[in-house]
Subunit: 478 residues, 2 copies
């Protein structure tokens, strides 16, 4: 039993030190391993398989809306990066530069893509000629690189995995529709697959993407009350099209600029899953994206018939869920702790006494509720519980989010909320960047978004007292 | 009809200029687009979707053998690359070097992975302690970078997509078994999915991978008689383990070095598919990896009921194949040519007269055979034809390969064969690298492999006349 304890004791409790708890979970659940490469992480099988689940589900959703996948070079020549002014200013300070190929110095240095707007624009300027070539709705799954000073597994790493969609449309309206469509797709994915409720809204000009006309975002609240930007969708208007000369001949035979969008989600989502659902025993995975949904743990597995029965249950359950048997030579207690650490939604215990009684024990990871079930009903019960767990997880996360959302109508209230109530703060804003900056300086809270669902909390800006234009979600963010 | 012709005329015939034919096909079938980044290509939807098919199928085969996917950093610090002597000598001349992050010079420069042995070794040295931690059977799907002077779409590009498997085992025997298992898996995949027959064998010491104890290869013959190395599997013995100090405590409580393997296949496979199966009308895709297997082309589609019938056929066929309708406003002739250029295995024509006769016309891409089929039997016929086409394609490729394999027992015969008979040459070899070098200098043919299936063609080396040790496949190669 010593080793069982070791596994559990090694985690810092989240109430003591949330940041350390997070680090403990990603390591102990074997999601990642640190590497010799500063700021980069290694995604181990338990971590990468969650990304595979996310990728598979998102990719199918993309394709349903007409998205086609491509692959672009990982390099961007410096001259190409420089073509759009705002964009290069936003990214140049944080890119990695390749200066040599083999033993030769390059005539022009190239950066490793921090994002690929410039490459897609270059492509579109070559392949879009007529209205018949539009829309282009391309996406790629790849890694990108941003030179970060301080890094954190999943949340901020020098290299990370993501998808980046880049589209070109004939009209401004179509581009705006695609921008919103993808934001809605992201929010729906997060709520229904990751069980994380999202606030949908628009970024302020200060917070929008370098080169975008408008940036839309989905924002989630972590267990510690900090916000996490979980996905963004940008409308570029025709700014990039003008910089890269992407024109098409319309039906009326005149040359027009295309209108573009881009949108992305990253491995950061795994960080969100950990920080929204995890507890002091480790990870808690929503069933729909759990690579393993059910772990069967044999009790007294050396007794005759136990492993056979476990295999039989696995066979029975494999039609309705992703199921494994842990038949390693560890103790059941160790296996329980390990399965909890890894966040597997349900465990099924089967031992000699259960076999005699034609029953099995199911234990929920999220609530630890136990169910003794007749084996004939096991399949149905597992199926039902996976749905229930998924639903309950979203519900709990929503209740937590709402309980940690405060309204402030005066600056005193606002500052008090930031200091004492971790979570979102809803407050009115005049629209002036000066107030946004002052709030950040005074409190470290930033504007998360101007939500689509607006409320009129008061008529004046929470900061300067001038007439308010819009309600904003504020918060400290990762 | 002018535009129909344009599409077809633009391809160079393969008999006139095979290299130009290849370039025309990859561009005209819209598999790739050249990019602003020297030596890199853009994989367009038609090209990337073939890679997705390959990836999905291979990945499932990997997982059946216990492979787990991970993701490693794209950077390798110079000191890490330098740890294994042969390996660094093989790769250092052709890597891209990152020297700056943002505006700061790095304290140690890093290369972009040309392959990831060093990173996996570094990981294994951290996470492998006991025999219980073995085997590790990891794989990653990623891009790698090798600075090439002359490049060619799919066959040789500065950056390319691939999978790289890296395993660590307790014993030498287990490592050798995994090396051969993966080679067999590769060969089986190529024959059954890509319809390309493979010669399986071992590389000579001269041709083996930098740092490997043994390299196994699968070699295919292209339509022009040149060989293409299509996949390799390496046994490293304990060389890397010693360089990286990867030791485990065995059951007998002693420290032992692990034994390692690696194996990879790349987007080069798409080049093989083009060059084995393509013809003067463009690409010919094997049904099993064709992203679209059947293209329905409506004839006189403005006539009432035609598009509706086409949609109905699509619905009917979608249960048995990947099917699309081309309802664009191009002419049927243009659509035929386009569907042929893209290599779609079957096209189904449906027009007013067909509807009246309750029939449809199926045309095979590979042989252009036409079948007039009653609509009630369409589904069954399509299903049957997809199997037949796949089988026939492998058969034709095998017949072509065998017809272009020559035996040489004297050096005169050998040189004559290289000069006049494009294809593989089987000849005996003494095992001396000097002969291998001489043959390459004299003829530009290289040793492709020492095949597992050996024949005794003569008792003497084809080059020096000394006693022969082994039969070798030779050939000019891509």
């Amino acid at each position: 039993m010593a080793s069982d304890k070791k596994l559990v004791e090694a985690i810092t409790s989240m109430e003591d030190d949330f940041a350390q708890w997070y680090t403990d979970v990603v390591k102990k659940a074997e999601l990642i391993e640190y590497s010799s490469v500063k700021g980069c992480m290694i995604l181990r099988p338990a971590g990468y398989s969650i990304w595979e689940m996310i990728q598979k589900n998102l990719d199918a959703r993309f394709k349903e809306t007409g998205v086609e996948n491509v692959y672009m070079p990982m390099f961007i020549p410096e001259s190409l990066l420089n073509k759009e002014k705002d964009h290069v200013e936003g990214f140049a300070p944080e890119v990695a530069w390749v200066t040599h190929g083999g033993s030769e110095a390059l005539s022009e240095r190239m950066c490793i893509r921090p994002t690929s707007e410039t490459l897609f624009c270059d492509l579109y300027s070559n392949i879009v000629q007529s209205y018949r070539d539009l829309p282009k709705v391309y996406n790629q799954w790849c890694s990108v690189c941003r030179w970060e000073k301080t890094t954190r597994p999943f949340l901020r790493t020098t290299e990370f995995l993501w998808q980046e969609g880049h589209t070109a449309h004939a009209t401004a309206q179509e581009a705006e529709e695609r921008t919103i469509q993808m934001l809605n797709l992201y929010a729906d994915f997060c709520e229904n697959e990751l069980a994380i409720p999202m606030i949908k809204g628009k970024k302020t000009d200060k917070e929008k993407f370098a080169g975008a006309e408008a940036t839309y975002t989905i924002e989630a609240l972590m267990h510690d009350g900090k916000a996490l930007q979980s996905g963004t969708s940008h409308n570029f208007g025709d700014g990039f099209a003008k910089a890269f000369d992407i024109q098409y001949t319309d039906k009326d035979n005149t040359l027009k600029y295309v209108h573009q969008t881009s949108w992305g989600m990253t491995t950061r989502l795994i960080g969100a899953v950990i920080m929204v659902h995890g507890d002091n025993s480790g990870l808690v995975l929503p069933p729909r994206i759990a690579p393993t949904q059910v772990m069967i743990i044999p009790i007294m597995q050396k007794k005759e018939g136990v492993l056979e029965k476990a295999a039989e249950l696995k066979e029975m359950l494999s039609g309705v869920c992703r199921v494994k048997v842990d038949d390693s030579d560890k103790t059941p207690g160790f296996k329980f702790a390990e399965s909890e650490m890894r966040g597997i939604p349900l465990r099924v215990e089967i031992g000699p006494k259960d076999i005699e009684a034609n029953q099995a024990v199911i234990v929920r990871r999220d609530t630890r509720e136990k169910y003794v079930v007749c084996i004939d009903e096991l399949q149905g019960k597992v199926e039902e519980l996976l749905v229930t767990v998924q639903k309950d997880m979203l519900e709990r996360a929503t209740v937590h989010r709402d309980a940690h959302t405060t309204t402030a109508t005066t600056y005193e209230e606002f500052k008090d909320a930031v200091a004492t109530k971790p979570g979102f703060i809803k407050a009115m804003w005049c629209g002036d960047e000066a107030c946004e900056k002052k709030i950040k300086e005074d409190t470290t809270a930033t504007s998360r978004c101007m939500p689509f669902v607006q409320e009129n909390l008061s008529d004046t800006c929470v900061c300067c007292g001038k007439p308010a234009k819009t309600m904003v979600y504020w918060g400290k963010a990762y």
